[in-house]
């Protein structure tokens, strides 16, 4: 009797891993609550949409079997310390195929080292702060299992400065929040002004804290020094306070900033004062092709909304899953290290809603973090806020994307 019991127990422990290997485990992490929640939940919901589609078609063919994707969700609340704990937990799981997500650059910096240590493949999306990838190139790390799938701040700040120069401005003010993200955005902007020929004079640099609602002093400083445009780096609620303050003071100058200006909590809290605000986007909720239309309709229907809270995050989450799935298929394995190797040399183009991804990543080069960055300047467009929606700022961009898709 005792022996049979022991044997059953032993058998039980031996067979469990075999069951687990029937699925491909992917962790989705991000802030599903708090000020960055619109980005976190949209990313998660976009990724889920892709996973549901893949699972509905039977899963990914690995060897002779088709394997379904199993989702593990973790809410980091946008807090660095929670992010670090979650990364440690994920790193110790053992049978995890990969991680997709993270919105806040601070969370990336706090958590990714644990994943990197174990060589777990992670696709960062939509966190955009430059430091997320440059931390590895600066340290000269030989082999990196972290990839990024977002238009990083380098691209975004270059577009913002380009826009300001194209509009023939010469004097600008920079406003940024006091977080890692705001400070690094400020540095990127100054970098880009130098790179693009020092055509802009910074007449005022002002900071604000998370939770600040009265921006009068900062804005008056910009106004008093004759700023012709305000370049801003922050998150939704505070940037809405800036827009409302500008309306109050009768400042009719353009507000141009990072992609976070498309967050629903900016658009809703700024209301009509947000009209005309410009920011780089990788995806615009405009059904320009049948593929984009089916994605937008699918999102609206599945989550019962009429507007995606953060379309950029949703589209990036969706495409990131398809790229990950393509890597699993190429690797013919759910082993995270093999998936990493496949991601670095993805042979088949992946059809996404943002674009068709041809060889998005390449072998990590410690001297060049661009090897693990998927987005290039041509993958981003300028977006503009109009009556509560983000639209294409330039019709030429819209046409270009339609032509690209037709090709």
């Amino acid at each position: 009797m005792k022996k049979t019991l022991l044997a059953t127990l032993l058998l039980g422990t031996l067979t469990t891993p075999a069951f687990a290997a029937d699925t491909i485990k992917i962790a989705l992490t991000g802030p599903f609550s708090g000020g960055s929640a619109p980005m976190g939940t949209s990313m998660r919901d976009g990724a889920r949409l892709a996973i549901n589609e893949i699972n509905a078609s039977g899963g990914i063919s690995v060897g002779t079997k088709k394997k379904k994707i199993e989702i593990i969700e973790r809410d980091d609340e946008g807090k660095n310390e929670r992010g670090a704990l979650i990364a440690q937990e994920l790193a110790s799981m053992g049978d995890l195929s990969g991680v997709i997500g993270t919105v806040n650059t601070g969370v990336v910096l706090a958590g990714d080292k644990h994943l990197q240590e174990k060589g777990i493949t992670k696709i960062i999306t939509p966190a955009a702060g430059s430091a997320s990838m440059t931390q590895w190139s600066k340290a000269g790390t030989k082999d990196v299992s972290i990839f990024r799938f977002a238009a990083h701040d380098g691209i975004q700040s270059s577009m913002v400065i380009e826009e300001a120069i194209n509009q023939k401005f010469t004097k600008i003010a920079i406003l940024h929040d006091a977080t890692n993200y705001g400070a690094s955005g400020h540095d990127d902007l100054i970098d880009q002004i130098k790179k693009q020929g020092n055509k802009l004079e910074i007449v005022a640099t002002e900071k604000f804290n998370i939770g600040d609602k009265d921006m009068t002093a900062q804005l008056l400083s910009a106004k008093a020094h004759g700023a012709q445009a305000i370049l801003i780096w922050g998150i939704g609620p505070e940037m809405a306070a800036v827009s409302n303050g500008m309306a109050k003071l009768g400042m009719k100058i353009p507000l141009i900033g990072g992609w976070t200006l498309s967050m629903s909590n900016y658009i809703d809290n700024a209301g009509k004062n947000g009209n005309g605000t410009l920011m780089p986007q990788t995806f615009i909720e405009d059904a320009i092709t049948p593929k984009v239309k089916s994605f937008i309709d699918g999102y609206h229907k599945t989550y019962n909304v009429t507007r995606i809270p953060s379309p950029v995050s949703a589209a990036q989450g969706y495409d990131a899953v398809y790229i990950f799935a393509a890597a699993v298929k190429q690797a013919q394995s759910e082993d995270t290290h093999k998936i990493k190797d496949a991601l670095e040399d993805l042979r088949e183009p992946v059809k996404g809603v943002i674009t068709t991804w041809k060889h998005p990543f390449s072998k990590w080069d410690p001297a060049n973090e661009q090897t693990h960055e998927a987005f290039r300047r041509s993958d981003a467009v300028m977006g503009k806020i109009q009556d509560g929606h983000v639209i294409f700022a330039n019709q030429s961009d819209r046409q270009r994307l339609i032509n690209n898709a037709a090709r």
Partner: protein
Amino acid sequence: MNLDILAQMVVSGALMGLIYALIAYGFQLTYATSKSINFGQGELVMLSAFFSLTLLNLGAPYWLMVPGGLLFGAVMGLIVERACVRLSLEQKSEGWILLTIIFGLLGFSSAENIWGRDDRPFPSPISADALNFFGISITGLEIAVALGVFLIMSIIELFKRKTLLGKAFEAVSADRDAAELMGISATKTIMLSYGLSGMVAAMAGILISPITTVGPTMASALILKAFSVAVVAGLDSGFGVVIIGIFLGALESLTSFYLGSGWREAPGLILLIMALAVRPNGVFGKANIRKV
């Protein structure tokens, strides 16, 4: 220096300062009667704002939402008094400090679970468009805040001076033991003060929400400033909080403009330290003389 900008800065800062003053006034009301303070006052502001927003979302008209919100605030104030303050006062202990902080944390977590952690816009029938007075821009919402602050403070001060119940309030504030000997129930008066304090918190929530948006952390920054204002003005100074509030608000704006926005929080703290060092009873406070 451009005079327009200076004036704009002072006015905008002063209007922000009035909000600090209103919250500080809530501290004063309970301190007067019971020498205790609700450290969860900021959470009362936030909970009342959420409750009022819920009323609006349920389709209640604006004129009904305001008294509804105030009533909710008053009830919350009474709950704080019963649950956190009464017993420790009876035992002459300082337990209310910890208990009111705990109550605040509880309120914060409840709000996160009931209403979520997002900042939400709060609709208001008052236009957010700017009006221009001699080159100074003020929005309708800001004027409403100023009027609301003076209105509720005047009503409560009048009530304290003109009605029998108000006189009892003043009597307990002046000398609790003597008042009890005259047949005034100190317990009931303290209840009244907590109810009024909760109502003031609700008023603050309703007034500032259209400007600050509603979220669990909406009052956490404000409450520290309000506390500074209450201490600097003196915890029994009445309208003194208004003067200090306006002063602090304007000073913050000016500091932020001239010294840089990173220094914005500094004047409040320096003021607090100076007041505690030079006038521990507050600028407008009365020195305590206790006969023995």
